[in-house]
């Protein structure tokens, strides 16, 4: 396929995506679901870079999400600044925090890395709940509406329907950034450091610097989600640091398949669809989410994506042969 055609198809897809909520009926609930999907997907993409590319499980990402949300809340409430300023501030604060977390965890790997990032989350949670500057346990109220003044025109988002274009543009932007990251020198370096640090070092890659840089790219993405979330909810409290968001992110990142561009987006969409439209109450939802996580990771190493592909392949004659071998192979290591 030539480039022109590909670009055209991408453009059509991007435009079509914008009208998806309308296609689903366009009610307020549908728009708020789509806005949330976009926000949480963006939040998850930040973590995706760490999990899929750097090969570590960061449990500190709720902190970056919260950093974006709190920065937005505080600056818009106390200084009365608009969305552009708050976005810049969110990204700045997140990068600062990411720098600190990145430096602390520079030499840590695997489970110790996860543990320390988790510690960062717990410390942040306590801080958010107790520091009056951040609103304490009551949180920050009175976050103003999303209002963009562009000189000639101004854009004011009252409902989630009004917020959708913003959320959608942010989502597209982040998708583009993630794709670019994976194709860039930095993305490749992250992957090599993950797969074989010694060889990477001798190929001229500084593993510690790479890890730090990936953190610095990842955190602002998650923080941008926090930025829009603050406007969408008009209220921010320490609950953005709760395990709910952490599990949501992690599940979204791994459930469809690691390292696939659209996987976190689809993951978030699946989870929110279940929660919003097929909820069985808090406990059963918990069991469903947990079980989905367990089963996909344990039995579908490639995520749902691989499973669906294998299923499609099984239906076609060519794929059937390949599949039996995978199964026989799996019984091998006894």
């Amino acid at each position: 396929m030539n480039i022109g055609l590909q670009v055209a198809m991408l453009a059509v897809l991007a435009v079509a995506g914008y009208f998806l909520p309308a296609l689903f009926g366009g009610s307020g609930a549908v728009y708020s679901a789509f806005v949330l999907i976009a926000i949480f997907a963006v939040m998850s993409y930040g973590l995706d870079l760490i999990v899929s590319d750097l090969g570590e499980v960061s449990l500190a990402h709720p902190v970056f999400f919260a950093a974006g949300a709190y920065a937005t809340g505080i600056i818009s409430v106390r200084l009365g600044l608009g969305p552009i300023a708050t976005l810049v501030a969110s990204i700045g604060v997140a990068m600062l925090l990411a720098g600190v977390v990145g430096l602390i965890t520079l030499r840590l790997r695997e489970f110790v890395f996860s543990l320390v990032t988790y510690a960062v989350s717990v410390v942040a949670l306590t801080l958010a709940e107790n520091w009056a500057f951040l609103g304490g346990s009551d949180g920050l109220t009175g976050i103003p509406l999303f209002k963009l003044d562009l000189g000639v025109a101004s854009y004011r988002a009252v409902t989630d329907k009004d917020l959708w274009p913003v959320a959608y543009v942010m989502l597209l932007g982040v998708l583009w950034i993630v794709r670019a990251f994976r194709r860039s020198r930095l993305g490749k370096a992250a992957m090599t450091v993950h797969l074989n640090p010694r060889l990477a070092t001798m190929s001229g890659i500084d593993p510690q610097r790479t890890r730090l840089m990936v953190f610095l790219v990842s955190a602002p993405i998650t923080a941008a989600a926090g930025w829009l979330y603050a406007y969408q909810r008009a209220y921010i409290s320490a609950d953005v640091l709760s395990p709910y968001f952490l599990i949501l992110m992690l599940t979204a990142v791994v459930i469809v398949g690691r390292g696939l561009l659209f996987a976190p987006l689809i993951g978030v969409a699946l989870i929110l669809a279940q929660e919003k439209f097929m909820s069985f109450g808090g406990y059963v939802d918990r069991i469903i989410l947990g079980t989905a996580l367990i089963l996909t990771l344990s039995f579908l190493p490639g995520g749902l994506y691989e499973a669906v592909r294998a299923l499609i392949a099984r239906l076609g004659p060519a794929g059937a042969k390949q599949d039996t071998q995978i199964e026989e192979g799996a019984t091998e290591c006894r």
Binding site: K321, Q322, Q325, I326, E328, G329, A330, E332, C333, R334
Partner: protein
């Protein structure tokens, strides 16, 4: 010839869609050393791994393996090991996070009268170098020290048949012959050895019989003497090395 300790029949191995091994029959008598030679990728490692039902990849294996006349092909790897079928694999063959002593600590639980279980002291007297480094971690050993430790580890488990995958890799020239002659010595006690070697020149000096694998099939088989005289072997495997 003495009783057959190990028999392999109709062994085939596939990776993905490719058949990488198809051995119709191969047997090993008591106290016999059989060499397996062949180019890189001929399937030598695949042959010995499949005999143990073991692999680091995901192959599909079929065929029969008989140990002392008993069919072990349905047994999982650890059970075959317990029966006295041992493999020292190519590459990583010792535990890096454990000391030399710990690597040698695990012995056969109940080998029975017909199998000799080597004690750690026996191993140290075979390889004095290991004794010097007894308290060091496996990961701190040099390549050659690892080979010695790997062989020692296998001996502790009282093998009936020992499958050795390229033991001379990474060994200093002086040690290659030491190791191979040690293997030869071991057979005095009735141990049977299947020795995979690239270093044909060194191997041919210690084997009773030798087979040549090409693209997963046995294409030549004969006593050490026959093979040495075979022009095909001389040209492909002894030629350059004798230069």
């Amino acid at each position: 010839m003495s009783a057959r300790v190990l028999e392999i029949a109709d062994l085939t191995v596939r990776y993905g869609g490719n058949r990488v091994l198809a051995v119709d029959g191969l047997s090993l008598g008591a106290g016999e050393v059989v060499g397996v030679v062949g180019a890189n990728g001929a399937g030598k490692s695949t042959l010995v791994n499949a005999t143990l039902g073991w692999s680091r990849g995901k192959p599909v294996v079929s065929g029969r393996v008989l140990l002392d006349g008993k069919d072990v092909s349905a047994l999982p790897t650890p059970r075959r090991v317990a029966e006295g079928l041992l493999l020292i694999p190519e590459g990583k063959l010792i535990f890096g996070t454990m000391t030399v002593e710990e690597n040698l600590a695990e012995g056969a639980t109940d080998p029975g009268p017909d199998r000799r279980a080597y004690s750690a002291e026996d191993v140290y007297s075979l390889f004095p170098r290991l004794k010097e480094r007894g308290g060091h971690l496996g990961s701190q050993l040099s390549g050659g020290e690892r080979q010695m430790l790997g062989i020692g580890r296998a001996l502790r488990l009282a093998p009936k048949a020992l499958l050795l995958d390229e033991p001379s890799i990474g060994l200093a020239p002086k040690l290659v012959s030491t190791v191979l002659h040690t293997v030869r010595e071991l057979c005095r006690d009735g141990l049977s050895v299947l020795l995979v070697e690239q270093n044909v020149k060194a191997a041919i000096a210690v084997v009773d019989r030798m087979i040549l694998l090409e693209r997963g099939r046995i294409v030549l088989e004969g006593t050490a003497g026959e093979m040495r005289d075979n022009p095909r072997i001389a040209e492909a495997y002894l030629g350059t090395q004798q230069a």
